[in-house]
Symmetry: C2
Subunit: 502 residues, 2 copies
Amino acid sequence: MDSKFIELKNHLAEIHDLTKIAWVLSWDQQTMMPMKGAAVRAEHLASLGKVIHEKFISPEIAKLLDDLSGYEASLPYDSDDASLIRVTRRDYEKEARVPAELRADMTRTAALARQAWVAARQESNYGLFLPHLEKNVALKHKYVECFDESENVYDILLDDYERDMKTREVTAIFDALKQDLVPLIAAIGKKSDAVSDACLHGNFPIEQQREFALSIITRFGFDPDAWRLDPTVHPFASSAGTNDIRITTRYYADFISPSLFGSMHECGHGLYENGVSPALERTPLCRGTSLALHESQSRMWENLVGRSRAFWKFFYPKLQTAFPDQFKRVDAETFYRAINKVQPSLIRVEADEATYNLHIILRFELEQEIMRGELRLKDLPDAWNARMKAYLGIDVPNDAQGVLQDIHWSAGSIGYFSTYSLGNIISAQIWEKVLADIPDLSERFARGEFMNLREWLRDRLHKHGRKFTPRETMDKVVGGFIDVKPYVRYLQKKFGEIYGIK
Amino acid sequence: MDSKFIELKNHLAEIHDLTKIAWVLSWDQQTMMPMKGAAVRAEHLASLGKVIHEKFISPEIAKLLDDLSGYEASLPYDSDDASLIRVTRRDYEKEARVPAELRADMTRTAALARQAWVAARQESNYGLFLPHLEKNVALKHKYVECFDESENVYDILLDDYERDMKTREVTAIFDALKQDLVPLIAAIGKKSDAVSDACLHGNFPIEQQREFALSIITRFGFDPDAWRLDPTVHPFASSAGTNDIRITTRYYADFISPSLFGSMHECGHGLYENGVSPALERTPLCRGTSLALHESQSRMWENLVGRSRAFWKFFYPKLQTAFPDQFKRVDAETFYRAINKVQPSLIRVEADEATYNLHIILRFELEQEIMRGELRLKDLPDAWNARMKAYLGIDVPNDAQGVLQDIHWSAGSIGYFSTYSLGNIISAQIWEKVLADIPDLSERFARGEFMNLREWLRDRLHKHGRKFTPRETMDKVVGGFIDVKPYVRYLQKKFGEIYGIK
């Protein structure tokens, strides 16, 4: 039995290597590749995707999985070996339904669409992007047809990012969230003048922004021998292995927030990948278990850590030294309020913690309407703009700051967005557990110490990688499923205090 | 018949994509990858190499090649299709002899050795590198055993870099070269004080070096939308496609020559890959036909162009402006003489045009002795140092500047070095043809015009890619085989004039 398991593991290692290679190529495409390399790169990714698919959906793998049922049953459920067999079987059953040609088509089309999106966004020209989006969506429909009919066509897409999660469940979670969030945002809106973020705008040389961001994330665990930080159009985190973590950020010379909080956000993702147990390296278990859990990490480091008073108690004097012209005359409390200003705005990734979730709900709804055929893609910008007006009360001046702002749809990622808000919610659930275990966390932050938090997360969450389903993992970390209450409590307390709302 | 050809072409496109992906990974490893990513990267390259090998050495490819014999015979020899079948058949016959596991072993071992070499070189510690070199050499012996016995064990390695070239032929060429070169170097040695290169040493901020190098190679054809220039430890050129060319260089803040001539050198390689006919993209014909011909291009742009008076007539005033403190008081003729100073030195890639070839002959001899088992690897540094003394009259102060200076042996490239000198020789043969066709080439250079030369090379050489063997290609470009006379004439004329030797 052992030898069959080794055989399976070797197959999976090879397939995982190829998958990670695709991650490197994609990272390269978004950070390093010269523009004219795009057409050939799309072919490279398509060929690689085809090989990965063929190698995985092979009679050998199917046979090995069958043969190993007994071995699996003989092992504890949470052993690495049993988990590898169990998770691989689930992956296999899903991927076996997708024809190789469709998989290659999706990869190739997405690679080209991503490049078209960069150009379309630069020129704020949705028309340039529309034909690519149409292809991506058409392929998603073909993809959905590969599976048994589900309660909701969108369920199948959601499952790719958040295993076992149903559209119905997300809708219920978002409804509960809205119930407390909408009145909170309204109450804040009445006191919108109470906080100014003027100090975050000005003149911030990019090289210094980079150095400052590095000085922060180095304390979170960024190690220059195992990580990279590069500039890109749309920030993301990737990795080639647990010791080759690649995060990206973007810099604006006149606005410091994106690089500051973006770096912490992507570092949070990087820490999850970096913290997976070395024993899982080169297996399909070697990554975060779901996007919502991944996002819980990025949003935690960005917001619960990075927008806290304790954090800035340590870092604000350093920020004043790095940018004296900007911050010399700004006191710590003014800065803390500035980075926590709640204000409806255009760009999701730069939105405050409260309104952020409305950006997500908007996308979650639009995606469902697109997939159900209720919204034509040519009408998408109008629908986007109308909903921005309805939910956030603001006018979208152009498509670059509207419907073209996110990379996801260009990359063929439909069903992804809701995981961001689920991540927000989960981050607060985890945070309550962390605080119970490390009551002096704030005092530690104020001394620049973040390793306790990282080790806690590594030990409870990161190390498991993808051994357990999102639900199982949630159960291990917080002892239950998604619950909006801790997040709502957190928002009400924090913004209640800042804006003087009971 | 057509449909079988399309089938073959599709297979080869996929395999070529995977091969190019390996090039990107290797580029990444040497320019971007964090150090601790090396172990996993080695596995990635090994897995990819294994897949490439399996995909190529498959019964389908063998059958298609057989079935397409008739189609091939029906086409003109130099058609793209006939060439694709012919060259693929030759590649197949060779690669089919190499077991997949050996191929994967060679790839993995080389990736680790390359990383060990970087560390060993930094610490000038040959002992750190020795076990890796031993593994690389042991695998080369296994590799040689895959083939029929040849006149010389070294022939099999040579053939990988220079198809059909025999050790005996290279020896004869090098003997002929030495006959004229040794007395020339001796005559120059007697007048070694006639030229000073002091002006090349001093203070050269790296960012300005980079800008100046870019200003040169942009006139050669470097296009920022299709090329990259990055710093690395050991410069090289790579590419992901004809429109994704990646060249690298190294900078010393106190010595301008390496980045200046290194960039031109790698740009020459890049122009060859960039100039291959777009019709050959994503086929195994889409690259230079041999290393000697590749080197003829890099050495041509570096030396015949970049160390010529005409070139500096245009660029020297610009160099004076870029580095006023260094060159304000140095006249053009002094600078021209400085960059052409002949002086035995430690480092191959920084050697002058005359002594360069002695560095190659030394390596060519050592490699043969290693492969014939006459030289033990632990004695290699001593052998290296003794031969440096014998051939160039200089003492090697440490292994970093001696036996550890080149990347090749770490990458498992044994049999490669002679192609550099063959490239020098060929570059002069091609140059005589170019001058016959473009008699006002110097006047054009003096005006900063290099496109005629690039177009000539593209039209006669680059566009063919790998359609023809090195010999066939030579025949097309210069109407004959390798001949040392033009190169010797060039060296005698140039250095005779500089050093006042008849």
